[in-house]
Structures are given as C-alpha cells and as structure tokens.
Symmetry: C2
Subunit: 217 residues, 2 copies
C-alpha cells in the first residue's frame, strides 16, 4: 500500500475555516449550458454564504434569480517537488460550496450583510469609513446562498515518492507559498502626519512577513 | 464624469500574461445543469490551454468529452481602502477563457504538454526529475482547450472616492497583496550537504521577498 497524503473528507468547521481564510472566491454559474467562473469577495453568516456586487452585474442578477451556484475558495500552500515528475503536486486547501441564492432585500439585513463583508476583510474598518447612503445601497446587491452541500480537498506534507526513486540525485521537498501584505500605500489625499489607524496596522502586522527571509545562494 | 479605474478590454497578449502569471486556474464545467468549479494547474501552448490530472478524475473525463469549459485565472494585488465603504474595492487581474477541450492521445504530444506544465511551474525541473514511465503516462490525462474566446478584467490604482468624502478623517489608499515563496524545505530523503539546484534557487529568489518588510507601528 502506497503512502498517500491526506485528501480525505472534512467536517463543516474545517470547510468553513478554508472559506473564511480566503480573501476571494470563484463563483460558478450556468447560462444556456455555458459555465462562467467569476472571482469575487465573499462573506459567511453561519451556514449561509453571502455575495455582493453591482446591482446591474450579470453575476448578481443571475444569482438573485436562484440558479444553482458553485462557490470555490482555494489556498495554495506549497509546490511539492518529488523525484519523479509524476509525483509532483501542490499543497493546497480548497472548499467547494453548492447552493442557490436569493436577494437580501430587507434594508437592515442588507446593511448587516455589508458589515460582514467589510469587517471580514479588515476588522474595524466599518466603524471608521463612511457608511453607505441610500443611493449606494440601491446600487449594491447582496445575495444569500444557504449552503446546501460543501466539501473540501486538502493536500499537506512532503512529496510521496516511489521507494525506488528515493535514491535518485534529485532534490525533493516543499517550496512554501503564501499570500502576504506589504506596507500600506496612502493616496494623495491622506494628510501629512495622518497616522495609520490601529486596526489597519494590526491587520497589516498580522499578515505581513513575520521575519525577514534569507534566500540561500 | 466620475473618474473610474481602468477595467476596460484587453488585447490577447495582456490576457495571456495574466494566465501565464497564475500558478493555478479555476475550471468551471456543467453536469446536469449544476456548475462545478475546481482549482487545478494549467499551462498554455499558444492559443491552446492545457489541463492535466488523474485519468479517472471527473474533471478530466468531463473535459475530454468536449463539454464547454470556463477557465479563470485571478491575481489579487491590493485591498483598496476608500473613505466610503461603498467605494472599497480590490485591485486584481483576472482572465476568463472559454472553449471546449479534447484529450491529447498522441504520446509525443502528451509528453510535450507535460513538459510545459513542469517547466512553466519551475524552469529546469523537467531535465532534473525522473520522467514519466508508461504506467504513469496512462494514469495521467492531458486535455487541450483551444481558446475560443477570452477576456480580462483589471483594476489598478488608488481608491475612487467621491469628492465630498475626501475631507473625511479616514485613511485611504492601498494595502498591497502578493504571493511569495518561502525558503525550500527538503524532505528527509535529501542527503546532508545536497545543495539546492541552481534552477530551484533561481526560482525561489525570483519569487521571494526582495527586501525585508518593516511594519510601521
């Protein structure tokens, strides 16, 4: 029996963690038998996935009509270098959610949903920025997709080489990959001496490089 | 007329650059009216997109049957913080390709396609690792999707605030985001003193942090 990295089935909390850790998702939908895959931001409210966008966008109009959707969130964690080309792989975490959505029309519920998008992206931002006015609320659609089913696929760990390949003079292991943030860039309208707010600094610190990288040469 | 960040139409070379810069894509396909979105590696040969995977996988079997596909590649470049919640955005580059695929059955063409996947991921790896044997070739499917149509959406630049919001005491600008690689982690089978090959070192250097980040506080 060959050792296989774990790519098994996952519990709801594990799947939702993958969803919540993702900055964006890819939404799949079907028009006249043709699949479309569109990247967009997402948020989650319990067992409901939230999507938002311009009220006129095709994705929002289509989703609001209740057609079936597939929402996928993927993280890339490493390139897996095995001795054999065939055993090369990617360490990743991917969640796939299925369901159909409906428009959130209640103004209070819609404002709550928008709060989730902003606070999920950068905690503290909602209370700092100017909140949506009536015209902006009308220009934005939010749809809620109860998660009808969900699954995850995860690969972790080192390469799985054939035993007979292990003696080959080929480097094997992982090249870790991650998404980081760099220092914030203020626009021209930020007054000189205007300090980065604490919540933004906290966000940047939590996602930037923890320690300087030294690349071997 | 309000200033709008560029999200216009793009030439083929611009679209292909987005595709080629992406480590993975998300493939959309339809089974019985239900959309599916699956992350996978891709490669490109001129106006043809290549996908590969286990011969038994649903995606490979479905793609080989010639059903319509949508392949999307997305890069996230920054979180765009405007003074108003409504004007928050993401700087991103996204390419969407449409077409239908066919299996590559010719052994030479299949080996050429696999070379592209490996060399695209890490140039130099193909000539170092053990090449696929007959059994491994049979276990792998490669499909070629002539790109029937393609488009890109790109947002760049600073936030687009309403003029009346610019005086608000709210920080506005970009939080840049990028994908980096960390130092390679050899597995337990790499002999002590076995140097990282030059092509791997070059790859890591080209994608790691160019300079240490210092986070303001």
């Amino acid at each position: 029996v060959r050792r296989k990295p774990a790519r098994g089935s996952y519990e709801r909390d594990d799947i939702y963690q993958i969803v919540d850790d993702g900055l964006i998702c890819h939404v799949g939908f079907v028009v006249d038998g043709q699949p479309y895959v569109i990247p967009t931001l997402h948020a989650r409210d319990g067992d409901t996935l939230l999507l938002h966008g311009s009220s006129g966008s095709r994705l929002m109009r289509h989703a609001a009509e209740g057609h079936p959707l597939c929402v996928t969130v993927t993280h890339i964690d490493a390139i897996v270098l095995a001795r054999a080309v065939f055993n090369h792989s990617i360490n990743y975490r991917s969640a796939v959610l299925f369901g159909s959505a409906a428009l959130i029309s209640d103004p209070g519920a819609k404002m709550d949903a928008l709060t989730r998008f902003t606070e999920r992206l950068i905690p503290g931002r909602w209370d700092d920025a100017r909140l949506p006015n009536r015209k902006e609320m009308l220009a934005t659609s939010v749809v809620a997709m109860p998660i009808a089913s969900a699954s995850a696929k995860v690969r972790t760990g080192m390469p799985s080489d054939e035993p007979e390949d292990l003696g080959l003079p080929v480097w094997g292991g992982l090249i870790p990959i991650r998404q980081i943030v760099d220092l914030p860039l203020p626009d021209e309208h930020v007054p000189v001496g205007f300090a980065l707010p604490g919540y933004l600094n906290a966000f940047v610190q939590s996602r930037s490089i923890a320690e300087p990288l030294i690349v071997a040469d």
